[in-house]
């Protein structure tokens, strides 16, 4: 694209960054899911093998990793619903930007609530 196209409604604006974010989170979740099915399959090996791997998830560093993963999923989910509304709701294209702010607001609220609960369970420790 040439510089002359800088008048676009899309490139460099929120629409582009939300698209980049949706793409990156989608790939991250997919890669996690591949590993997640493999680690869950250890329940077919032995209880000890499964518990051993699960216990490595139960430390503060992993708790932060899980929080980041959930942040990625919650963003992808809410932004995905916004994309669906843009496609199917008749005023969707008109309000796509307002809906993006809605997505970010809901994302922050959800993540604050999730983090308080998850991190206090994880750091409260056993």
């Amino acid at each position: 694209m040439s510089k002359a196209s800088s008048g676009t409604l899309y490139r460099g604006h929120e629409g582009m960054w939300s698209w980049v974010g949706h793409r990156v989170t989608g790939v991250v979740i997919f890669l996690f899911l591949l590993v997640h099915v493999l680690d869950t399959s250890l329940v077919r090996v032995s209880p000890g093998a499964y518990d051993a791997v699960m216990s490595t998830y139960k430390n503060p560093l992993m708790a932060l990793g899980e929080t980041a993963l959930v942040a990625a999923i919650v963003f992808h989910a809410f932004n995905g619903l916004r994309l669906i509304l843009v496609d199917f709701w008749k005023s969707g294209t008109k309000y796509h930007r307002q809906m993006l702010w809605g997505v970010l607001a809901l994302w922050v609220i959800t993540m604050v609530a999730f983090s308080i609960r998850h991190l206090s369970l994880a750091f409260g420790g056993h």
């Binding site: 793409r23 989608g26 790939v27 979740i29 997919f30 899911l33 591949l34 099915v37 493999l38 869950t40 399959s41 329940v43 077919r44 032995s46 209880p47 000890g48 499964y50 518990d51 699960m54 998830y57 139960k58 708790a63 899980e66 959930v70 999923i73 989910a77 995905g80 619903l81 994309l83 669906i84 496609d87 199917f88 999730f114 609960r117 998850h118 369970l121 994880a122 056993h126």
Partner: protein
Amino acid sequence: MSADIAAPRSQRIDPKYNRARKSRGSFEMVAWLFMRLSGVALVVLIFGHLFANLMVGDGINAIDFGFVAGKWADPVWQFWDLAMLWLAMLHGTNGVRTIINDYAEKPATRVWLKGILYVATIVIVVLGTLVIFTFDPCIAGNSIPACQ
């Protein structure tokens, strides 16, 4: 559906320039719709999964073999996980396929990357499905009283 209305300009242009030709069938349209329908279902399935496993009770600290055995004793959770496995894997695979088409320009690179993607998807979906249906709470090594 009585009148059959021809696509705009379909008569006037040389068929070789007609992009509405049926060559790609309706696959991309079905894939597009699937991404949206599966997305809506996945919000419910994944949020429910995360809530049940991380927010309730002792959260992450409670997850061990016994926790999984307790969940999969209930067919509702078996079905839940099965639906989540299939929908998330197909949705994710189709999404990554789009991304490969966008960035891999050489035909050979595309074929290779997509081949690896599809093999990985089949392996994970088959493995995950078998794990749910062949799960055995009294597998060797479980010494809880209920298994004696």
